[in-house]
């Protein structure tokens, strides 16, 4: 299972357009593409209203834990989780082996409609990730020439404590 390749402008533009379309059609509040390891890959919508970094980490854990339960029940097809809230609801949809689509939307909206539009968005993103894999499998960030002595203290400790 190859990991996510480095993303370039083309990938970001595709995700911008796919997530914006999802938000417009579904009237959802926020859409996130996250890696199943936890990091947020891309996000659109009311990003400033939420701690999306923590939501990404918790959503990845939650989805993968539920998937592990489903596997123990002999369930091989596991595509989404829906959590209905009083004000906001959540939909976690599988994109591929590496990624998830998280949609946060007002509770009064139709979950079925959000799920329908999210499925199409997930398909668009899968296709783009496949193109990215074919474009540059295993390519990495170029840090050649970086002075590692400079990064020995990336995290410094507050001496006053």
């Amino acid at each position: 299972m190859p990991g996510l390749p480095p993303l370039i402008e083309e990938d970001v533009q595709l995700m911008d357009s796919a997530l914006d379309e999802l938000l417009r059609k579904s009237e959802a509040t926020l859409a996130l593409v996250i890696d199943k390891g936890g990091p947020v890959i891309h996000q659109r919508g009311a990003v400033g209203q939420f701690d999306t970094t923590t939501i990404g980490a918790l959503a990845a854990g939650s989805f993968c834990a539920t998937q592990a339960i489903a596997e123990r029940l002999g369930e091989t097809h596991f595509a989404s989780i829906y959590q209905q809230g009083a004000h906001l609801s959540l939909l976690f949809s599988n994109i591929d082996d590496n990624a998830l689509l998280i949609v946060i939307f007002k509770a009064e909206l139709s979950a079925g409609a959000v799920k329908y539009f999210a499925a199409e968005t997930a398909r668009q993103i899968v296709r783009q990730f496949q193109r990215a894999q074919q474009r540059a499998p295993g390519e990495s960030i170029d840090l050649v020439g970086e002075n590692l002595l400079d990064v020995s203290g990336v995290f410094s400790k507050n001496r006053q404590n």
Binding site: M1, G3, L4, P6, L7, I8, E9, D11, V12, D35, K36, G37, G38, P39, V40, I41, D51, T53, T54, A57, L58, A60, G61, C64, A65, A68, N98, E139, S140, I141, D142, L143, V144, E146, L148, V151, S152, G153, V154, F155, S156, K157, N158, N161
Partner: protein
Amino acid sequence: MAIINQATKELQVKIVYYGPGKGGKTTNLEQVHGNVQGVQEKGKLVSLATSSDRTLFFDFLPIEAMAIKGYKTKFQLYTVPGQVIYNTTRQLVLRGVDGIVFVADSQYDKMALNVESFQNLEDNLKTLKLNFAEIPYVLQYNKRDLPNVAPVEYLDYLLNNREVQVPAFPAVACRCEGVFESLNMITRLLLNKFINEGSRKAT
């Protein structure tokens, strides 16, 4: 696997603190959260713990460090639950790991647990089809302030007995000793890995 976004100039890496139960993994994250300075942004420390304050799923601390070659570098620090029964959970947390800090308990009577946990780490990485040899890690010998600790050489013999030894740090995590040394070293090893991969690409 690190997330590299060349369009937004972002690099995200995941570091997992692994080791036996009550070894000090959560304390490491608490100390980083409480004492780190000079970073771009520090998120909240999220702990999914039992009512008795033992890690149930994971602890999570996001930190955005300085830019490297113009890339925003975001670190996601996780702990695993150390208790033996939570192995499936440990596998879930290891998913997408880029670097590991193995936190060992230096007390003599914890040596078997250290070895078991290290073996468990190797087994879980195999289950996830990850090659341990390709994942940077450091060892932290914690609780050096306690009276019944084994010599560092003995811990090295048990956990670091290989041709090329990995960096190991004595620590007293509750006093923040050895915590930043371990974190900075795993960061350095991770970036070194990127540089080596970049070199291979260039040749």
